[in-house]
């Protein structure tokens, strides 16, 4: 028998493969299925000057709070139930970060262009708005098939993508069990390297329940490393396993009030390693019992 693939890494291994100034895409959506254990490991590291590409939630906010971010490429940063992300908001209002602000769909088109190794994809989205004013590098193109001017949405190439899924195996097969896989597949495909954290890690996801395979949204050849992080999306949700932790998110937002509180959150809550974090968060059993949000 030939040796089987084993892509298992620790969160620390993943962060060791990242370097200052990288462009990092983060999967999930707002307060949903964010690879927070990997994000926290970045916070604990010396990494800096990152460009973060995301449908942003506390991933973006926390990285801003920790001073890791040079630039955010985003369509929104929000916790949904708490519409304004306090740490992102503070970083913006203090003029601390650069932006490339995008429509949600444009962000996807940028990832899709990179995923298909194209320089751009044409779209009407963004024309007539201030997105063009604040991103002067954007260009329009004339349709070769008719009289129409379109925005040429440039490829958003990622040095690395960080994703969180429900289940993975050592070879890099993944499964998203929640109802919406969001845009994780496009992040995976737009990235040079893709690291996936997971709730459960098994030897193999191979199963005779073929319906499960429909929950696999990107193939393992895109996956560089797999990290086993139970409760790794906390305080965001990871349906159907657990919901977001609203009291935690509120405390997290309140810590944006001043530098002292932010420092305390980073030092005492994020802490020195993930075990400490999870104990503070009420350990995985608390996380597993968090109810799914009802909208």
């Amino acid at each position: 028998m030939i040796k089987q693939l084993d892509k298992q890494l620790s969160a620390r291994d993943v962060v060791a493969q990242l370097t200052d100034g990288m462009t990092i895409g983060i999967g999930g959506w707002g307060p949903r299925r964010k690879p927070m254990a990997l994000v926290r490991e970045i916070v604990r590291s010396n990494l800096r000057d990152l460009t973060v590409v995301a449908y942003g939630g506390p991933d973006v906010g926390l990285l801003c709070a920790a001073g890791k971010v040079r630039k955010v490429v985003f369509g929104f940063v929000s916790l949904d139930v708490i519409p304004l992300e306090a740490h992102f908001r503070r970083a913006r209002e203090n003029g601390e970060i650069d932006l490339w602000e995008l429509d949600e769909g444009l962000l996807q088109l940028g990832l899709r262009a990179a995923a298909a190794r194209l320089p751009f994809l044409p779209t009407r989205v963004g024309l007539g708005t201030d997105l063009l004013k604040y991103a002067p590098h954007l260009r329009t193109v004339e349709s070769p098939y008719g009289d129409e001017t379109l925005l040429a949405m440039p490829a958003i190439e990622l040095d690395a993508a960080l994703l969180h899924v429900n289940a993975a195996d050592r070879m890099g097969n993944t499964r998203i069990d929640g109802p919406d896989p969001f845009f994780d597949a496009w992040f995976a495909r737009a990235a040079t390297k893709c690291y996936v954290s997971c709730e459960t890690l098994s030897e193999s996801l191979a199963s005779d329940d073929l319906a499960l395979a429909r929950r696999n949204t990107f193939e393992r050849s895109l996956v560089t490393g797999v990290v086993h992080t139970p409760a790794g999306a906390h305080p965001t949700s990871c349906a159907p396993a657990y919901g977001w932790d609203l009291p935690h998110l509120k405390a997290y937002c309140a810590s944006a009030e001043d530098l002292q509180k932010t420092t305390a959150y980073l030092k005492n809550v994020v802490g020195s390693d993930e075990q400490v974090y999870l104990q503070g968060a009420g350990d995985p059993s608390h996380v597993a019992a968090l109810p799914l949000p009802i909208l």
């Binding site: 959506w29 942003g56 985003f74 369509g75 929104f76 940063v77 929000s78 519409p83 304004l84 992102f88 908001r89 913006r92 209002e93 203090n94 003029g95 932006l99 602000e101 995008l102 429509d103 949600e104 769909g105 444009l106 996807q108 779209t123 009407r124 989205v125 963004g126 024309l127 007539g128 708005t129 201030d130 997105l131 604040y134 329009t140 004339e142 009289d147 129409e148 001017t149 929640g178 109802p179 919406d180 896989p181 969001f182 845009f183 009802i294 909208l295």
Partner: protein
């Protein structure tokens, strides 16, 4: 008959907002926020059986999902899937009509939910980001729901960040094709549309006890009065029964500050 009904200003607004979808046929109706969401649910049940709604998460539903915590045993019954990726596909295809609550709206119908101030590098107030506004506004029908009609929302000049395309000739790029279709604005004072000269905003109906002058005074730019401007059609008994059943926890009580009744009632 309806004279004897008691209802709040929010319920009047929700019923008025539901009617924005009346003649849309089979489109995805998206209401963001409690008031707009209840309006979409009411529209589906009372005015347009073709409307498609979601559960707010990822599923298409034929029965609007009530707001807030659900009765024990309640199950969302999905008739289809509407992941965010499919929402984008739907947006670009055009069969959608969204009812949203912008922070700022200008005379051109351009709207802002991204940030406030005059320095992009250092905004006075960071809001959400543009979200889907650029794509929505150039691709499909949009209406607005404004719970506090004032010059802070209806700004003079342009909005601080043009997130959504309106009817501003100065913003047109040569060769650009826009499917911009701004329909109605339902506020706590009135209902307006973009049917004035050169798509200017005009008041279609006033809520009870509100004058055109009052609406004009609360707006940062010139409004027109529709020749048949009358009183906003009040909710009927069925409207109220549906809205209340879709909102068992009375989240609509926080749609308008202090949850007033319509004036004079």
């Amino acid at each position: 008959m309806s004279d004897s009904l008691e209802y709040s200003l929010a319920e009047l607004m929700i019923a008025a907002a539901a009617r924005v979808w009346r003649d849309d046929g089979e489109v995805l109706a998206t209401g963001i926020g409690s008031g707009p969401r209840l309006a979409a649910g009411l529209a589906r049940l009372a005015y347009n059986a073709g409307l498609m709604l979601t559960d707010g998460e990822a599923y298409l539903v034929e029965s609007p999902v009530p707001l807030g915590p659900r009765e024990v045993g309640y199950c969302v019954r999905a008739s289809g899937l509407m992941t965010y990726e499919r929402v984008f596909d739907c947006v670009w295809h055009g069969r959608r009509h969204a009812l949203v609550m912008p922070t700022q709206i200008d005379r051109f119908g351009q709207a802002n939910i991204s940030w406030l101030g005059d320095d992009y590098a250092r905004p006075k107030t960071q809001l959400l980001g543009v979200r889907g506004f650029p794509g929505n506004s150039i691709n499909h029908a949009n209406s607005f729901f404004v719970s506090g009609h004032s010059k802070r929302t209806f700004v003079s000049g342009e909005v601080d960040m043009v997130c959504s395309v309106g009817y501003n000739p100065a913003r047109e790029i040569p060769g650009m094709r826009a499917f911009t279709d701004l329909r109605s604005i339902v506020t706590d004072l009135c209902v307006m549309d973009f049917g004035g000269p050169a798509h200017a905003l005009q008041v279609r109906s006033l809520h009870p006890g509100v004058s055109f002058e009052e609406v004009q005074d609360a707006t940062g730019f010139e409004l027109f009065a529709h020749p048949e401007m009358g009183l906003t059609v009040p909710p009927n008994a069925q409207d109220l029964q549906i809205v209340r059943s879709l909102d068992p926890h009375n989240l609509r009580a926080s749609v308008v500050r202090n949850n007033p009744a319509p004036r004079g009632s």
